[in-house]
Subunit: 244 residues, 2 copies
């Protein structure tokens, strides 16, 4: 039975971290809200609004595998990792991978809040000035803090700097690829100025992009474009204070 | 060998979710930064700043158990749960518990951002107006959304509304207790007005408070007070728009 991934239709968003793992593994899955004949978004909303199901998710993305409903990106990857061959073989190392994924989760939430610092219920346009202030902080302090951290994790990996955990590919590699992609889309000027400071991370990004299943996926229609409806949004005014 | 918990000295903060689990289980642990003779905060900073260790945390809290270093609250609880008898016995249910804990993680991050909506590097006083706007949104939309969700999880639990997962105590119960405590401290007027809407959640809070190990802990010096240096902060001006 195929895995069922539930996420908002039309955007990469948080769902993309799960899609990359499913695609790398060549797993059989249904991207439910994009499957119009299968019920699409209505089917997702029915699960989310259920007043009787024992397993209710707070928000998408969530994965359904038979009887089990698993919410939250890091939790989905923790569950799928061993099944897809994308977790460390060593059980203890799985907590290391999960810890890194949770740091990525924090980065993603902060990237979101650069365009919605006050309220998710308001439009970006209604919090633009606050967004400029928050984005400036994100660019100056937080991007270097997060990416510098991942660079250190790669450099201090006893198995070498090709992977963040152990000596093989895990879902954390794929998520780090997406982080670099997303930050380049949202803050191109900031990234052009600074990404050379994190050579191991950029090398990891490039190696993931070259993987056969990933590169086929990136060129397919299944890979949605980045947009201003997603988590990583490009609003030029948020980095207008930077030189080109 | 005792577990070593590393967290910022002097505050409950995110460390408290781990302390509650260790205390409920009567586990042998050292709260490292509070152990002045054992090196205190210096010992934590040395680990965080290491340029050679294979396992480096992005931020506290983290747990050290022998050779393993585990960062992030939800990850620490995922690891400790089975050892402390605070995880569901059923393996699949552990993903349910982890999913709920990750929703709590999101709530805690949003509670933090009510007083720091623009920049963690700036003082609250420098972002007070933005904090008022974000707190107003948090009170009107987010608290009811999160606590209403947990109420639903309790009410829809096939094993009954006493616990969020299965029919026994897990670390999620303890974390939900702390969420109610924290929100009552930070937003007393908002909680007085609304908490009766979530009777199963409040009953769970009260049941946790009555547990012998928890009530002993809460009365001990090991339980730090809430304060304006933690995650849940009481700034009366953030709910000044509410009637008493």
């Amino acid at each position: 039975m195929p895995y069922e991934l539930y996420y908002w239709d039309g955007i990469q968003g948080r769902g993309e971290f799960v899609r990359l793992a499913l695609e790398e593994a060549g797993a059989d899955y249904i991207d439910v809200t994009r499957d119009k004949e299968g019920g699409g978004t209505d089917r997702m909303m029915k699960i989310m609004q259920s007043r009787s199901d024992p397993l209710v998710p707070f928000a998408p993305p969530f994965l359904v595998d038979g009887e089990l409903l698993i919410p939250h990106v890091a939790n989905i990857l923790l569950y799928l990792g061993p099944k897809l061959g994308l977790s460390p073989a060593d059980e203890a190392q799985r907590f290391v991978a999960n810890g890194l994924q949770l740091t990525i989760t924090d980065l993603v939430a902060e990237a979101h809040d650069t365009h919605h610092p006050i309220a998710g219920s308001l439009y970006y346009e209604d919090q633009k000035e606050e967004a400029k202030a928050r984005a400036a902080e994100f660019i100056v302090y937080r991007i270097p803090m997060f990416l510098g951290y991942f660079e250190r994790v790669l450099k201090q990996n006893p198995a070498g700097p090709d992977h963040p955990v152990g000596d093989g590919l895990t879902y954390v590699d794929l998520s780090l690829f997406q982080v670099v992609e997303g930050l380049r889309y949202a803050f191109p000027k900031a990234m052009r100025r600074t990404e050379r400071e994190w050579p191991a991370l950029i090398a990891l990004h490039d190696a993931v992009a070259r993987r056969p299943n990933i590169s086929r996926y990136l060129e397919s229609e299944r890979r949605l474009p980045f947009s201003e409806a997603g988590i990583f949004r490009h609003y030029p005014e948020l980095e207008a204070h930077l030189d080109p």
